[in-house]
Assembly symmetry: C2
């Protein structure tokens, strides 16, 4: 079983965190994304945190977990915190394959997305 | 003269802030974006801040300034801080037309962008 976890920063504003849940639901509906399950987690200020989301995925049978950083640039969260969280999970769950995907801001499609907003 | 200012959060990590400069340069190269100039600013932890970027744009002759929040969700920065910064600029420069565009995470293209990374 293969699961995608979208990892966002998290906000004090509940509606902002709700956006992430909606986004994960939309991604799940997209055909090109071939996962048995798609969920989300927050680094700070909101639940579930990454550890909880990984626990849940594994309890539901995930043997392969891809983590997608919903971050725009490679700040400390992307460069330090997320790799550390994955390393911790790998140690705790050696039977599970973890894969930290590239962060959203690294996508070549971002320039077009910005141009669409700005034009 | 019409200018676009891409507003990012800002990071303690210089390379992360450099990504924004590179992004602004790429957006400037894209044909669909019809601006006389495209620049960037940071809300926190990096220069230029929004006030400085607006001053620079106006000193270079900008009469219409579009501000694009390079943020993924509508947290306090997007909902409170950026509208407040625009309101302040509007009071200070009544001869200039300011337009706060929608933030990046609000784009319908984001779901496809995520699917591209995750597939």
């Amino acid at each position: 079983m293969k699961q995608l976890i979208i990892i966002a920063h998290g906000s004090r504003r509940a509606s902002s965190n709700d956006e992430i849940a909606e986004l994960a639901a939309k991604v799940e509906q997209q055909l090109p994304c071939r996962y048995d399950a798609i969920s989300f987690a927050f680094l700070e200020m909101a639940d579930p945190n990454i550890e909880t989301a990984i626990d849940l995925a594994i309890n539901h049978g995930a043997l392969e977990i891809n983590l997608l950083p919903y971050f725009l640039s490679a700040g400390n969260h992307v460069v330090q915190d997320l790799p550390q969280a994955v390393k911790t999970a790998e140690t705790q769950f050696p039977q599970v394959s973890f894969n930290l995907l590239s962060y959203v801001g690294q996508s070549n499609a971002m320039v077009n997305l910005i141009c669409d907003i700005a034009k």
